[in-house]
């Protein structure tokens, strides 16, 4: 029901009121502002401070070492190799998961019986806690008792030792793709938000199904795809727990069992901190990574104008 507004204006608000409103704004947002400063900015700054020292985590005998941690990092071939692996992992996982979740969304966007059941099944893994995910995939990938090798066996194929190199890398990718339900639900909503008239108009103009999808649907949902790419890149840069739990590492610091192919950058950081007790060096690695993430996010953002279509009114709800 739309009530035509009579000439009833909002109550006149004197200067005193707007001062009150301004103060209240800060009061209301203060939990986040304080939290951001104390729980995000302070730890980041603290990490920068330790990155200039040779702090080992416990002893009080530390000293300032200037930028020598950073200089060492430049020459650290292990760190660069782990960064390269992280980039390779990201370059595989992000396009794959965006493409597959889009494909699933298209599949589920059709009027089919029981489509809701399939949506639930596909979405479910994305809420399974990381620990349970790792435990169950370890059982699936198990060489002698795993589901995957059981299937291969029935097909007359040989068993594969999945969780060592070189297959461990692909096992990690499969585990990641298993949890793409969130992206799928987002894309499904995006597809349902595309005005049906646009697609119908294209059909009337003689476009086939593929061309409607390519030239109408895809541009319309490109902002959502873009958002998925950005968050996907950031998420896959920071992967740490999955490689740790898939390998038989069971206590903090024991990262020696992580197979080289899943020894990603954050695993390397973790190892420097907790296995080698090099808190200063690990912090330098974190800060370099922070800058790398910042720069790559900006680059993706920059690239957006070449392939993302925004409707005129970008920030209408402000």
């Amino acid at each position: 029901m739309v009530v035509q507004k009579a000439k009833r204006t909002a109550p006149a608000r004197p200067a005193r009121w707007s001062r009150y409103s301004g103060r209240t704004f800060y009061l209301f947002v203060s939990p986040w502002v304080l939290g951001f400063l104390l729980l995000t900015a302070v730890p980041l700054g603290y990490a920068f401070a330790i990155s200039l020292t040779n702090f080992d985590g416990s002893s009080s005998l530390w000293r300032w070492v200037g930028l020598s941690n950073y200089r060492e990092l430049m020459r650290d071939s292990d760190a660069w190799a782990s960064l390269a692996r992280t980039l390779a992992y990201t370059a595989l996982v992000v396009p794959l998961s965006v493409a597959i979740s889009l494909g699933l969304a298209v599949l589920l966007n059709r009027r089919l019986r029981a489509v809701g059941l399939f949506r639930t099944i596909f979405f479910l893994p994305s809420v399974v806690p990381i620990v349970a995910t790792a435990i169950m995939w370890k059982l699936v990938f198990n060489r002698d008792s795993g589901l995957l090798n059981a299937i291969l066996e029935r097909l007359g194929l040989g068993a594969v030792t999945w969780l060592v190199d070189p297959t461990a890398f692909y096992a990690l990718i499969i585990l990641t793709l298993w949890g793409l339900g969130t992206g799928m639900v987002i894309m499904l909503a995006a597809l349902q938000g595309v005005p049906i008239e646009l697609e119908e108009a294209a059909v009337v103009d003689g476009a086939g199904r593929w061309r409607v999808f390519r030239h109408v649907t895809l541009p319309m949902i490109s902002p959502v795809l873009f958002f998925q790419v950005v968050t996907g890149v950031i998420m896959s840069f920071q992967v740490l727990v999955q490689p740790l739990l898939l390998a038989e590492t069971n206590s903090i610091g024991a990262v020696t069992n992580v197979p080289p192919s899943t020894h990603l950058y954050m695993v390397q950081v973790y190892q420097e901190y907790f296995a080698n007790q090099r808190f200063g060096y690990g912090s330098a690695m974190l800060w370099v990574f922070f800058v790398i993430i910042l720069v790559s996010t900006l680059l993706v953002q920059r690239s957006s104008r070449f392939w993302v279509y925004y409707e005129v009114d970008r920030d209408q709800n402000d």
């Binding site: 947002v29 939990p31 951001f36 104390l38 729980l39 699936v140």
Partner: protein, 276 residues
């Protein structure tokens, strides 16, 4: 017409194959939890257990202090969920309905912190907290709860921004301050969002591994850490069937929450991902 029916048939076949991929690992976990240890290592590999071994579940809850870890997980996730929901609602209200200098840049900072990988701050936080004596306490979770979550702030802000202005104008005429407008008018209106926020933040913390692994020792830690570090035989090897039983018990609450409240999860995912 037949062509179309054929197409639907093929689609269903594809959906079935995909369903096996997504549900298979979960099913395998439960099957492993029901197998006897000797059956788990049998050659050739058995798909189904011959007789379900419920004793794996009793072993899972008796070999470690399962109840205590569950209590820790519940307490930690519950405390965090309640605190972060109310703090995020307040911050969301501020950004949606109040004016103040610097609001736009502040909101931009908030949105960009959504992009900041939490892992970057977690390890330094651990170092800092171990020096402040906050390790092995639950204070870090209280602090994280009080500090609001940018993701949930965004969720609340979107909801509050859509409420007609007449609501607060009427209340202001009646002499209400913003505190009471928030508490008496906006919060009661936002029950679905409150519920979404509670469910989401609870499952985040229930599923979190790294923070409890770093900040809590084995006596104070959560179920997620405990089940990864326990269930070994005297040689130090994992007993996979018992660990599978423990992991099953650990995911069941999350599954139930998800199945009963799927629309709330969908809502939160959609409003952040599509409008974001």
């Amino acid at each position: 017409m037949t062509d179309r029916r054929l197409g639907a048939g093929r689609t269903y076949l594809l959906l079935m194959v995909l369903a096996v991929f997504f549900a298979g690992p979960l099913a395998w976990l439960v099957l492993a939890a029901l197998k006897e240890q000797s059956e788990w290592v049998a050659i050739p590999i058995h798909f189904l257990p011959e007789a379900p071994q419920w004793s794996n579940f009793t072993d899972a809850v008796t070999q470690i202090n399962f109840l205590a870890y569950t209590g820790n997980s519940l307490f930690l996730s519950g405390t965090y969920a309640v605190l972060v929901t109310f703090s995020s609602a307040a911050v969301g209200f501020g950004f949606a309905r109040l004016k103040g200098r610097g609001k736009r840049p502040l909101f931009a900072v908030l949105l960009s912190t959504m992009m900041l990988p939490s892992i970057l701050t977690l390890i330094p936080t651990y170092v800092l907290y171990s020096r402040l004596g906050l390790v092995n306490t639950y204070w870090p979770w209280v602090l994280w709860g009080l500090a609001a979550s940018p993701y949930l702030v965004f969720l609340f802000r979107q909801f509050f921004a859509a409420i007609p202005k007449d609501f607060e104008d009427a209340a202001i005429i009646d002499g209400c301050g913003y505190g009471r407008i928030f508490w008496r008018i906006f919060l009661p209106l936002s029950k679905p969002v409150l519920l979404t926020s509670l469910l989401l933040s609870f499952t985040w913390m229930w599923g979190d591994y790294l923070a409890p692994a770093l900040l809590l020792d084995i006596d104070h830690t959560t179920l997620s850490v405990a089940i990864t570090q326990s269930y070994r035989n005297p040689h130090g090897d994992y007993i996979p069937t018992v660990q599978a039983a423990a992991a099953t018990l650990y995911v069941v609450p999350v599954m139930l929450i998800f199945l009963f409240a799927q629309r709330y999860f969908v809502r939160s995912v959609v409003s952040s991902g599509v409008k974001g």
